[in-house]
Protein backbone atom coordinates (compact mmCIF):
# COMPACT_ATOMS: atom_id res chain seq x y z
CA UNK A 1 0.00 0.00 0.00
CA UNK A 2 1.28 3.49 -0.86
CA UNK A 3 1.17 5.98 1.98
CA UNK A 4 0.79 9.66 1.19
CA UNK A 5 1.74 10.65 4.71
CA UNK A 6 3.81 8.55 7.07
CA UNK A 7 4.53 9.96 10.54
CA UNK A 8 6.22 8.42 13.51
CA UNK A 9 6.60 9.63 17.10
CA UNK A 10 5.55 13.25 16.52
CA UNK A 11 5.75 15.26 19.73
CA UNK A 12 5.45 18.96 20.38
CA UNK A 13 5.39 21.02 23.57
CA UNK A 14 4.42 24.65 24.05
CA UNK A 15 6.00 25.67 27.31
CA UNK A 16 4.65 23.12 29.77
CA UNK A 17 1.75 22.08 27.55
CA UNK A 18 2.00 18.79 25.67
CA UNK A 19 0.32 19.62 22.37
CA UNK A 20 1.33 16.41 20.58
CA UNK A 21 2.36 13.23 22.34
CA UNK A 22 4.10 10.55 20.29
CA UNK A 23 1.69 10.62 17.35
CA UNK A 24 2.25 8.05 14.62
CA UNK A 25 -0.02 7.65 11.61
CA UNK A 26 -0.16 6.69 7.97
CA UNK A 27 -2.55 8.25 5.50
CA UNK A 28 -3.67 6.90 2.14
CA UNK A 29 -5.81 8.36 -0.66
CA UNK A 30 -9.36 9.30 0.33
CA UNK A 31 -10.78 11.41 3.15
CA UNK A 32 -9.53 10.69 6.68
CA UNK A 33 -11.46 12.34 9.50
CA UNK A 34 -9.80 13.76 12.59
CA UNK A 35 -12.13 14.00 15.58
CA UNK A 36 -11.41 15.30 19.06
CA UNK A 37 -12.53 17.83 21.64
CA UNK A 38 -11.16 21.37 21.81
CA UNK A 39 -7.53 21.32 22.89
CA UNK A 40 -7.03 17.72 21.76
CA UNK A 41 -4.17 18.73 19.47
CA UNK A 42 -5.98 18.46 16.13
CA UNK A 43 -4.95 21.87 14.82
CA UNK A 44 -1.38 21.38 16.06
CA UNK A 45 -1.17 18.04 14.24
CA UNK A 46 -2.50 19.63 11.06
CA UNK A 47 -0.01 22.49 11.33
CA UNK A 48 2.85 20.07 11.82
CA UNK A 49 1.81 17.95 8.83
CA UNK A 50 1.32 21.14 6.80
CA UNK A 51 4.95 22.07 7.66
CA UNK A 52 3.91 25.29 9.41
CA UNK A 53 5.38 24.12 12.73
CA UNK A 54 8.26 21.67 13.10
CA UNK A 55 7.82 18.93 15.73
CA UNK A 56 10.13 18.73 18.77
CA UNK A 57 10.59 15.01 18.15
CA UNK A 58 9.59 12.51 15.52
CA UNK A 59 9.63 12.61 11.73
CA UNK A 60 7.24 12.36 8.83
CA UNK A 61 7.15 12.28 5.07
CA UNK A 62 4.55 13.60 2.65
CA UNK A 63 4.44 11.97 -0.78
CA UNK A 64 7.95 10.68 -0.19
CA UNK A 65 9.46 14.02 0.85
CA UNK A 66 10.92 14.72 4.28
CA UNK A 67 10.16 18.28 5.45
CA UNK A 68 13.04 18.09 7.92
CA UNK A 69 15.26 19.93 5.42
CA UNK A 70 14.54 23.24 3.69
CA UNK A 71 14.50 21.54 0.28
CA UNK A 72 12.24 18.72 1.48
CA UNK A 73 9.90 21.23 3.12
CA UNK A 74 9.56 23.11 -0.14
CA UNK A 75 8.84 19.89 -2.06
CA UNK A 76 6.12 19.02 0.46
CA UNK A 77 4.61 22.49 0.16
CA UNK A 78 4.49 22.17 -3.61
CA UNK A 79 2.19 19.18 -3.11
CA UNK A 80 0.12 20.60 -0.27
CA UNK A 81 -3.25 22.32 -0.08
CA UNK A 82 -4.09 23.86 3.29
CA UNK A 83 -7.32 25.36 4.56
CA UNK A 84 -6.67 26.81 8.04
CA UNK A 85 -9.25 26.89 10.82
CA UNK A 86 -9.84 30.61 10.37
CA UNK A 87 -8.67 31.48 6.88
CA UNK A 88 -7.68 35.12 6.57
CA UNK A 89 -8.43 37.22 3.52
CA UNK A 90 -7.42 40.54 2.11
CA UNK A 91 -11.02 41.79 2.07
CA UNK A 92 -10.48 44.29 -0.72
CA UNK A 93 -9.44 41.54 -3.10
CA UNK A 94 -12.05 39.91 -5.30
CA UNK A 95 -12.42 36.13 -5.07
CA UNK A 96 -10.38 35.85 -8.28
CA UNK A 97 -7.65 38.19 -7.01
CA UNK A 98 -7.35 36.36 -3.72
CA UNK A 99 -7.04 32.91 -5.30
CA UNK A 100 -4.66 34.45 -7.84
CA UNK A 101 -2.56 35.75 -4.93
CA UNK A 102 -2.40 32.27 -3.37
CA UNK A 103 -1.56 30.80 -6.79
CA UNK A 104 1.42 33.16 -6.98
CA UNK A 105 2.53 32.00 -3.54
CA UNK A 106 2.29 28.49 -4.97
CA UNK A 107 4.81 29.48 -7.64
CA UNK A 108 2.41 29.74 -10.58
CA UNK A 109 4.16 32.70 -12.10
CA UNK A 110 3.04 32.32 -15.73
CA UNK A 111 0.13 34.73 -15.94
CA UNK A 112 -1.98 32.87 -18.50
CA UNK A 113 -1.57 29.43 -16.94
CA UNK A 114 -2.20 30.87 -13.49
CA UNK A 115 -5.41 32.61 -14.50
CA UNK A 116 -6.69 29.41 -16.12
CA UNK A 117 -5.95 27.50 -12.93
CA UNK A 118 -7.68 30.15 -10.79
CA UNK A 119 -10.71 29.96 -13.03
CA UNK A 120 -10.72 26.15 -12.83
CA UNK A 121 -10.67 25.97 -9.03
CA UNK A 122 -13.29 28.70 -8.64
CA UNK A 123 -15.54 26.78 -11.02
CA UNK A 124 -14.81 23.61 -9.06
CA UNK A 125 -16.12 25.12 -5.82
CA UNK A 126 -19.10 26.68 -7.58
CA UNK A 127 -17.95 30.29 -7.41
CA UNK A 128 -17.40 30.90 -11.10
CA UNK A 129 -20.23 33.41 -11.22
CA UNK A 130 -19.03 35.56 -8.31
CA UNK A 131 -15.32 35.52 -9.06
CA UNK A 132 -15.29 39.29 -9.59
CA UNK A 133 -17.04 40.08 -6.30
CA UNK A 134 -15.07 41.56 -3.39
CA UNK A 135 -14.47 39.08 -0.58
CA UNK A 136 -15.94 41.43 2.03
CA UNK A 137 -19.26 41.19 0.17
CA UNK A 138 -19.36 37.38 0.15
CA UNK A 139 -21.25 35.28 2.71
CA UNK A 140 -19.38 33.16 5.25
CA UNK A 141 -20.06 30.00 3.25
CA UNK A 142 -18.79 31.59 0.05
CA UNK A 143 -15.65 32.83 1.79
CA UNK A 144 -15.03 29.32 3.03
CA UNK A 145 -15.35 28.08 -0.54
CA UNK A 146 -12.91 30.76 -1.73
CA UNK A 147 -10.43 29.44 0.85
CA UNK A 148 -11.05 25.87 -0.37
CA UNK A 149 -10.46 27.01 -3.95
CA UNK A 150 -7.17 28.54 -2.84
CA UNK A 151 -6.21 25.25 -1.19
CA UNK A 152 -7.02 23.36 -4.40
CA UNK A 153 -4.78 25.52 -6.59
CA UNK A 154 -2.12 23.41 -8.28
CA UNK A 155 -4.04 20.16 -7.75
CA UNK A 156 -2.24 19.20 -4.51
CA UNK A 157 -1.79 15.52 -3.64
CA UNK A 158 -2.30 16.16 0.07
CA UNK A 159 -5.14 18.40 1.25
CA UNK A 160 -5.36 19.52 4.89
CA UNK A 161 -8.72 20.95 6.00
CA UNK A 162 -9.08 22.35 9.51
CA UNK A 163 -12.75 22.46 10.55
CA UNK A 164 -14.02 23.75 7.21
CA UNK A 165 -17.72 23.32 8.05
CA UNK A 166 -17.72 25.34 11.29
CA UNK A 167 -20.25 28.16 11.23
CA UNK A 168 -21.97 26.99 8.05
CA UNK A 169 -25.72 26.48 7.88
CA UNK A 170 -26.98 22.97 7.04
CA UNK A 171 -27.36 23.68 3.33
CA UNK A 172 -23.88 25.18 3.06
CA UNK A 173 -22.48 22.30 5.10
CA UNK A 174 -24.03 19.77 2.75
CA UNK A 175 -22.60 21.63 -0.22
CA UNK A 176 -19.19 21.70 1.41
CA UNK A 177 -19.37 17.97 2.05
CA UNK A 178 -19.96 17.40 -1.65
CA UNK A 179 -16.88 19.48 -2.42
CA UNK A 180 -14.74 17.62 0.10
CA UNK A 181 -15.93 14.26 -1.21
CA UNK A 182 -14.99 15.32 -4.73
CA UNK A 183 -11.64 16.65 -3.52
CA UNK A 184 -10.94 13.27 -1.92
CA UNK A 185 -11.21 11.44 -5.23
CA UNK A 186 -7.64 10.56 -6.17
CA UNK A 187 -5.93 12.55 -3.43
CA UNK A 188 -5.38 12.33 0.31
CA UNK A 189 -7.53 14.62 2.44
CA UNK A 190 -7.11 15.03 6.20
CA UNK A 191 -10.28 16.62 7.57
CA UNK A 192 -10.38 17.95 11.12
CA UNK A 193 -13.92 18.39 12.36
CA UNK A 194 -16.22 18.47 15.38
CA UNK A 195 -19.06 17.10 13.28
CA UNK A 196 -19.35 13.33 13.53
CA UNK A 197 -21.85 13.52 10.65
CA UNK A 198 -19.04 14.85 8.44
CA UNK A 199 -16.96 11.80 9.28
CA UNK A 200 -19.84 9.36 8.87
CA UNK A 201 -20.71 10.78 5.44
CA UNK A 202 -17.26 11.47 4.01
CA UNK A 203 -14.48 9.46 5.56
CA UNK A 204 -13.08 6.03 4.84
CA UNK A 205 -11.04 6.29 8.00
CA UNK A 206 -11.14 8.22 11.27
CA UNK A 207 -8.61 9.23 13.91
CA UNK A 208 -9.75 10.33 17.37
CA UNK A 209 -7.40 12.56 19.34
CA UNK A 210 -7.40 13.56 22.99
CA UNK A 211 -4.70 15.24 25.08
CA UNK A 212 -2.31 15.34 22.13
CA UNK A 213 -2.44 11.60 21.43
CA UNK A 214 -4.29 9.42 18.93
CA UNK A 215 -6.84 7.33 20.87
CA UNK A 216 -8.45 5.59 17.93
CA UNK A 217 -7.39 4.82 14.37
CA UNK A 218 -9.77 2.80 12.21
CA UNK A 219 -12.79 2.92 9.97
CA UNK A 220 -15.98 4.80 10.92
CA UNK A 221 -17.72 1.41 11.16
CA UNK A 222 -15.10 0.24 13.67
CA UNK A 223 -15.57 3.40 15.74
CA UNK A 224 -19.33 2.89 15.69
CA UNK A 225 -18.86 -0.77 16.68
CA UNK A 226 -17.15 0.35 19.90
CA UNK A 227 -20.60 1.36 21.10
CA UNK A 228 -22.23 -1.92 20.13
CA UNK A 229 -24.33 -3.07 23.11
CA UNK A 230 -23.48 0.10 25.05
CA UNK A 231 -26.33 2.39 24.01
CA UNK A 232 -29.73 1.97 25.57
CA UNK A 233 -33.04 3.69 26.03
CA UNK A 234 -34.73 4.53 29.34
CA UNK A 235 -37.58 6.66 30.57
CA UNK A 236 -35.31 8.50 33.07
CA UNK A 237 -31.67 9.49 32.77
CA UNK A 238 -29.64 6.50 33.86
CA UNK A 239 -27.21 7.68 36.59
CA UNK A 240 -24.81 4.90 35.61
CA UNK A 241 -24.48 6.18 32.04
CA UNK A 242 -21.32 7.98 30.86
CA UNK A 243 -23.57 10.33 28.93
CA UNK A 244 -27.31 10.56 28.48
CA UNK A 245 -29.76 12.95 26.89
CA UNK A 246 -33.47 13.23 26.25
CA UNK A 247 -34.39 12.59 22.63
CA UNK A 248 -37.24 14.01 20.60
CA UNK A 249 -39.45 11.06 21.57
CA UNK A 250 -39.17 11.94 25.25
CA UNK A 251 -37.09 8.90 26.21
CA UNK A 252 -33.44 9.07 27.27
CA UNK A 253 -30.58 7.82 25.13
CA UNK A 254 -27.79 6.54 27.39
CA UNK A 255 -24.23 5.65 26.51
CA UNK A 256 -21.98 3.58 28.77
CA UNK A 257 -22.36 0.21 30.43
CA UNK A 258 -26.07 -0.72 30.27
CA UNK A 259 -27.88 -2.34 33.19
CA UNK A 260 -29.17 -5.89 32.76
CA UNK A 261 -32.30 -6.05 30.65
CA UNK A 262 -31.84 -2.57 29.17
CA UNK A 263 -33.48 -1.82 25.85
CA UNK A 264 -30.43 -1.60 23.56
CA UNK A 265 -30.32 0.85 20.68
CA UNK A 266 -28.48 0.90 17.38
CA UNK A 267 -25.21 2.79 18.04
CA UNK A 268 -24.01 5.74 15.96
CA UNK A 269 -20.53 7.05 15.20
CA UNK A 270 -21.07 9.73 17.83
CA UNK A 271 -21.73 7.09 20.48
CA UNK A 272 -18.48 5.35 19.58
CA UNK A 273 -16.66 8.70 19.67
CA UNK A 274 -18.05 9.57 23.12
CA UNK A 275 -17.03 6.20 24.52
CA UNK A 276 -13.56 6.54 23.00
CA UNK A 277 -13.07 9.89 24.72
CA UNK A 278 -14.23 8.50 28.05
CA UNK A 279 -11.23 7.80 30.26
CA UNK A 280 -8.90 10.03 28.22
CA UNK A 281 -9.33 12.99 30.48
CA UNK A 282 -11.33 14.75 27.79
CA UNK A 283 -14.76 16.04 28.59
CA UNK A 284 -17.53 13.72 27.42
CA UNK A 285 -20.32 15.81 25.94
CA UNK A 286 -23.75 14.89 27.19
Amino acid sequence: MTFTVSASGLSLHYGGTRALDDVSLRLTAGVTGLLGPNGAGKTTLLRVLATAVPPDRGAFTVLGHDPGSARGRQEVRRRLGYLPQTPGFHPDFTAFEFVDYVAILKELTDRGARHREVRRVLEEVGLGDVRGRRIRKLSGGMRQRVALAAALVGDPGFLVLDEPTVGLDPEQRMRFRELIARAGEGRTVLLSTHQTEDVAMLCHRVLVMASGAVRFDGTPAELTARAEGRVWSSTERDPGAKAGWRTGTGSFRNVGEPPAGAELLEPTLEDGYLLTLDGTGAEVAA
Partner: protein, 278 residues
Amino acid sequence: MTWHVDEEDLRGYARGELAPPALWSADAHLVACERCRGVLAEFGDAGALQAGWERLDAELDAPRPGRFEGLLVRLGVADHTARLLAATPVLRRSWLGAVVAVLVTTFLVAFSAGAADSPTLFLAFAPLLPLAGVALAYGPGLDPTYEMAVVSPTHGFRLLMIRTVAVLVVGLGLNGLATLALPDYGLRALAWLLPALALTVSGLALAPRLGPVAAPSVVGAVWVAVLFAANAAQTSAGDPLAPFTAAGQGVSAVLAGAGAGLLFLFRDRFDVFPRGAA
Protein backbone atom coordinates in the same frame (compact mmCIF):
# COMPACT_ATOMS: atom_id res chain seq x y z
CA MET B 1 -12.87 47.95 -36.96
CA THR B 2 -9.96 50.08 -38.17
CA TRP B 3 -7.24 47.45 -37.88
CA HIS B 4 -6.82 43.70 -37.81
CA VAL B 5 -4.31 41.36 -36.26
CA ASP B 6 -1.37 40.65 -38.51
CA GLU B 7 -1.65 37.28 -40.24
CA GLU B 8 1.71 36.11 -38.92
CA ASP B 9 0.65 37.06 -35.39
CA LEU B 10 -2.57 35.09 -35.85
CA ARG B 11 -0.56 32.02 -36.90
CA GLY B 12 1.60 32.44 -33.80
CA TYR B 13 -1.52 32.90 -31.69
CA ALA B 14 -3.02 29.69 -33.07
CA ARG B 15 0.20 27.82 -32.25
CA GLY B 16 0.24 29.33 -28.76
CA GLU B 17 3.57 30.98 -29.50
CA LEU B 18 2.56 34.64 -29.57
CA ALA B 19 4.24 36.46 -26.68
CA PRO B 20 3.01 39.47 -24.68
CA PRO B 21 2.33 42.30 -25.32
CA ALA B 22 1.27 41.21 -28.85
CA LEU B 23 -0.61 38.32 -27.21
CA TRP B 24 -2.61 40.68 -24.99
CA SER B 25 -3.34 42.92 -27.91
CA ALA B 26 -4.57 39.96 -30.00
CA ASP B 27 -6.65 38.69 -27.06
CA ALA B 28 -8.40 42.03 -26.69
CA HIS B 29 -8.94 42.45 -30.43
CA LEU B 30 -10.30 38.95 -31.06
CA VAL B 31 -13.11 39.49 -28.60
CA ALA B 32 -14.57 42.18 -30.81
CA CYS B 33 -13.48 41.18 -34.34
CA GLU B 34 -15.39 38.44 -36.11
CA ARG B 35 -13.19 38.65 -39.19
CA CYS B 36 -9.99 37.94 -37.24
CA ARG B 37 -11.70 35.12 -35.39
CA GLY B 38 -12.61 33.62 -38.77
CA VAL B 39 -9.03 33.87 -40.02
CA LEU B 40 -7.79 32.37 -36.77
CA ALA B 41 -10.16 29.41 -37.19
CA GLU B 42 -8.52 28.64 -40.56
CA PHE B 43 -5.03 28.63 -39.07
CA GLY B 44 -5.44 26.61 -35.95
CA ASP B 45 -6.36 23.02 -35.31
CA ALA B 46 -9.44 22.53 -33.18
CA GLY B 47 -7.53 21.64 -29.98
CA ALA B 48 -5.19 24.59 -30.18
CA LEU B 49 -8.10 26.88 -30.99
CA GLN B 50 -10.05 25.65 -27.97
CA ALA B 51 -7.00 26.23 -25.79
CA GLY B 52 -6.80 29.72 -27.23
CA TRP B 53 -10.42 30.46 -26.37
CA GLU B 54 -9.88 29.15 -22.85
CA ARG B 55 -6.86 31.38 -22.50
CA LEU B 56 -8.90 34.29 -23.78
CA ASP B 57 -11.69 33.56 -21.30
CA ALA B 58 -9.19 33.43 -18.47
CA GLU B 59 -7.70 36.74 -19.56
CA LEU B 60 -11.12 38.36 -19.68
CA ASP B 61 -11.84 37.08 -16.17
CA ALA B 62 -8.55 38.36 -14.85
CA PRO B 63 -8.94 41.34 -12.58
CA ARG B 64 -7.84 44.78 -13.60
CA PRO B 65 -4.96 45.60 -11.28
CA GLY B 66 -5.48 48.39 -8.76
CA ARG B 67 -3.70 51.72 -9.11
CA PHE B 68 -0.78 50.72 -6.93
CA GLU B 69 -0.41 47.32 -8.57
CA GLY B 70 -0.73 48.86 -12.03
CA LEU B 71 1.91 51.45 -11.20
CA LEU B 72 4.32 48.71 -10.13
CA VAL B 73 3.75 46.77 -13.36
CA ARG B 74 4.34 49.94 -15.40
CA LEU B 75 7.57 50.45 -13.46
CA GLY B 76 8.72 47.04 -14.66
CA VAL B 77 7.85 44.91 -11.61
CA ALA B 78 6.71 41.40 -12.66
CA ASP B 79 2.94 41.06 -12.36
CA HIS B 80 3.14 38.25 -9.79
CA THR B 81 5.53 40.28 -7.61
CA ALA B 82 3.23 43.29 -7.94
CA ARG B 83 0.33 41.16 -6.64
CA LEU B 84 2.39 40.05 -3.64
CA LEU B 85 3.19 43.69 -2.89
CA ALA B 86 -0.40 44.82 -3.36
CA ALA B 87 -1.38 42.43 -0.58
CA THR B 88 1.03 44.10 1.83
CA PRO B 89 -1.25 45.46 4.55
CA VAL B 90 1.12 48.28 5.36
CA LEU B 91 0.82 49.72 1.87
CA ARG B 92 -2.89 50.26 2.21
CA ARG B 93 -4.18 53.78 1.96
CA SER B 94 -5.28 53.94 5.56
CA TRP B 95 -1.90 53.00 6.89
CA LEU B 96 -0.14 55.40 4.58
CA GLY B 97 -2.50 58.08 5.81
CA ALA B 98 -1.52 57.29 9.38
CA VAL B 99 2.16 57.46 8.48
CA VAL B 100 1.72 60.87 6.92
CA ALA B 101 -0.22 62.00 9.99
CA VAL B 102 2.63 60.85 12.24
CA LEU B 103 5.15 62.74 10.16
CA VAL B 104 3.07 65.90 10.14
CA THR B 105 2.60 65.59 13.89
CA THR B 106 6.34 65.22 14.31
CA PHE B 107 6.91 68.44 12.42
CA LEU B 108 4.29 70.27 14.42
CA VAL B 109 5.74 69.03 17.71
CA ALA B 110 9.24 69.95 16.62
CA PHE B 111 8.36 73.45 15.55
CA SER B 112 5.77 74.32 18.18
CA ALA B 113 8.28 73.32 20.88
CA GLY B 114 10.54 76.06 19.60
CA ALA B 115 13.04 73.50 18.38
CA ALA B 116 13.23 74.92 14.90
CA ASP B 117 16.96 75.42 15.30
CA SER B 118 17.48 71.69 15.77
CA PRO B 119 16.08 68.70 13.86
CA THR B 120 16.58 66.37 16.86
CA LEU B 121 12.93 65.48 17.39
CA PHE B 122 12.51 64.66 13.70
CA LEU B 123 15.71 62.62 13.71
CA ALA B 124 14.49 60.71 16.77
CA PHE B 125 11.09 59.84 15.27
CA ALA B 126 12.07 59.22 11.65
CA PRO B 127 13.93 55.89 12.18
CA LEU B 128 10.91 54.44 13.97
CA LEU B 129 8.73 54.83 10.88
CA PRO B 130 10.38 52.20 8.64
CA LEU B 131 10.85 49.97 11.69
CA ALA B 132 7.11 50.00 12.34
CA GLY B 133 6.29 49.69 8.65
CA VAL B 134 8.44 46.63 8.10
CA ALA B 135 7.15 45.04 11.32
CA LEU B 136 3.59 45.44 10.06
CA ALA B 137 4.34 44.03 6.61
CA TYR B 138 4.46 40.32 7.37
CA GLY B 139 3.75 38.08 10.32
CA PRO B 140 1.05 36.18 12.19
CA GLY B 141 -1.71 38.47 13.36
CA LEU B 142 -0.53 41.20 10.99
CA ASP B 143 -1.00 39.58 7.61
CA PRO B 144 -4.44 37.92 7.46
CA THR B 145 -3.14 35.36 4.98
CA TYR B 146 0.01 34.58 6.95
CA GLU B 147 -0.94 30.99 7.75
CA MET B 148 -1.56 30.22 4.07
CA ALA B 149 1.59 32.07 3.05
CA VAL B 150 3.85 30.25 5.49
CA VAL B 151 2.94 26.80 4.13
CA SER B 152 3.31 27.90 0.51
CA PRO B 153 6.43 26.94 -1.45
CA THR B 154 7.41 30.62 -1.69
CA HIS B 155 10.15 30.97 0.91
CA GLY B 156 9.02 33.10 3.86
CA PHE B 157 12.27 35.05 3.80
CA ARG B 158 11.81 35.92 0.15
CA LEU B 159 8.27 37.15 0.82
CA LEU B 160 9.53 39.14 3.78
CA MET B 161 12.28 40.74 1.73
CA ILE B 162 9.92 41.64 -1.14
CA ARG B 163 7.62 43.40 1.30
CA THR B 164 10.46 44.90 3.31
CA VAL B 165 11.94 46.53 0.23
CA ALA B 166 8.53 47.88 -0.72
CA VAL B 167 7.87 49.27 2.73
CA LEU B 168 11.36 50.70 3.03
CA VAL B 169 10.96 52.46 -0.29
CA VAL B 170 7.71 54.00 0.92
CA GLY B 171 8.90 54.74 4.46
CA LEU B 172 12.29 56.07 3.47
CA GLY B 173 10.66 58.00 0.64
CA LEU B 174 8.28 59.73 3.04
CA ASN B 175 11.12 60.45 5.43
CA GLY B 176 13.17 61.74 2.53
CA LEU B 177 10.41 64.13 1.54
CA ALA B 178 10.22 65.30 5.12
CA THR B 179 13.97 65.87 5.06
CA LEU B 180 13.60 68.06 1.97
CA ALA B 181 11.27 70.23 4.01
CA LEU B 182 14.15 70.96 6.38
CA PRO B 183 16.68 72.54 3.99
CA ASP B 184 18.17 74.75 6.71
CA TYR B 185 19.78 71.79 8.43
CA GLY B 186 21.62 70.55 5.35
CA LEU B 187 23.08 67.05 5.61
CA ARG B 188 22.37 66.97 9.35
CA ALA B 189 18.73 66.30 8.49
CA LEU B 190 19.75 63.00 6.87
CA ALA B 191 21.21 61.60 10.09
CA TRP B 192 18.06 59.46 10.53
CA LEU B 193 18.89 57.20 7.58
CA LEU B 194 21.55 54.89 9.06
CA PRO B 195 19.75 54.54 12.43
CA ALA B 196 16.58 53.71 10.46
CA LEU B 197 18.35 50.91 8.60
CA ALA B 198 20.00 49.65 11.81
CA LEU B 199 16.69 49.58 13.70
CA THR B 200 14.80 47.95 10.84
CA VAL B 201 17.37 45.22 10.23
CA SER B 202 17.77 44.57 13.99
CA GLY B 203 14.00 44.30 14.39
CA LEU B 204 13.81 41.77 11.56
CA ALA B 205 16.78 39.76 12.85
CA LEU B 206 15.21 39.46 16.29
CA ALA B 207 11.70 38.65 15.00
CA PRO B 208 12.12 34.83 14.76
CA ARG B 209 13.29 34.73 18.39
CA LEU B 210 11.10 37.40 20.02
CA GLY B 211 8.11 37.39 17.69
CA PRO B 212 7.02 39.87 15.03
CA VAL B 213 5.51 42.38 17.46
CA ALA B 214 7.86 42.07 20.43
CA ALA B 215 11.04 42.35 18.35
CA PRO B 216 10.37 45.80 16.81
CA SER B 217 8.87 46.94 20.11
CA VAL B 218 12.04 46.02 21.98
CA VAL B 219 14.24 47.61 19.32
CA GLY B 220 12.12 50.77 19.37
CA ALA B 221 12.29 50.90 23.15
CA VAL B 222 16.08 50.49 23.07
CA TRP B 223 16.30 53.33 20.56
CA VAL B 224 14.26 55.64 22.80
CA ALA B 225 16.39 54.65 25.81
CA VAL B 226 19.57 55.39 23.85
CA LEU B 227 18.23 58.82 22.92
CA PHE B 228 17.35 59.61 26.54
CA ALA B 229 20.79 58.46 27.66
CA ALA B 230 22.44 60.55 24.94
CA ASN B 231 20.36 63.53 25.95
CA ALA B 232 21.41 63.12 29.58
CA ALA B 233 25.07 62.88 28.57
CA GLN B 234 24.87 65.93 26.29
CA THR B 235 27.34 68.58 27.46
CA SER B 236 26.17 71.49 25.32
CA ALA B 237 22.59 72.18 24.24
CA GLY B 238 23.68 72.98 20.68
CA ASP B 239 25.55 69.71 20.11
CA PRO B 240 23.88 66.84 18.22
CA LEU B 241 22.92 63.80 20.26
CA ALA B 242 25.48 60.97 20.14
CA PRO B 243 23.57 58.76 17.61
CA PHE B 244 23.60 61.66 15.14
CA THR B 245 27.33 62.37 15.36
CA ALA B 246 29.82 60.81 12.94
CA ALA B 247 30.73 58.16 15.53
CA GLY B 248 27.07 57.40 16.20
CA GLN B 249 26.45 57.04 12.48
CA GLY B 250 29.35 54.62 12.27
CA VAL B 251 27.86 52.50 15.04
CA SER B 252 24.54 52.47 13.20
CA ALA B 253 26.24 51.36 10.00
CA VAL B 254 28.02 48.51 11.81
CA LEU B 255 24.78 47.44 13.49
CA ALA B 256 22.93 47.50 10.18
CA GLY B 257 25.64 45.36 8.54
CA ALA B 258 25.80 42.87 11.42
CA GLY B 259 22.00 42.66 11.55
CA ALA B 260 21.83 42.01 7.80
CA GLY B 261 24.36 39.17 8.21
CA LEU B 262 22.41 37.60 11.06
CA LEU B 263 19.19 37.98 9.12
CA PHE B 264 20.63 36.09 6.17
CA LEU B 265 22.11 33.44 8.45
CA PHE B 266 18.77 32.76 10.14
CA ARG B 267 16.63 33.15 7.01
CA ASP B 268 15.13 29.65 7.33
CA ARG B 269 13.48 30.65 10.61
CA PHE B 270 11.04 32.81 8.64
CA ASP B 271 9.83 29.69 6.86
CA VAL B 272 7.77 28.35 9.77
CA PHE B 273 5.47 29.80 12.41
CA PRO B 274 7.29 31.75 15.11
CA ARG B 275 7.17 29.43 18.13
CA GLY B 276 5.03 31.64 20.34
CA ALA B 277 2.50 32.29 17.57
CA ALA B 278 1.64 28.69 16.63
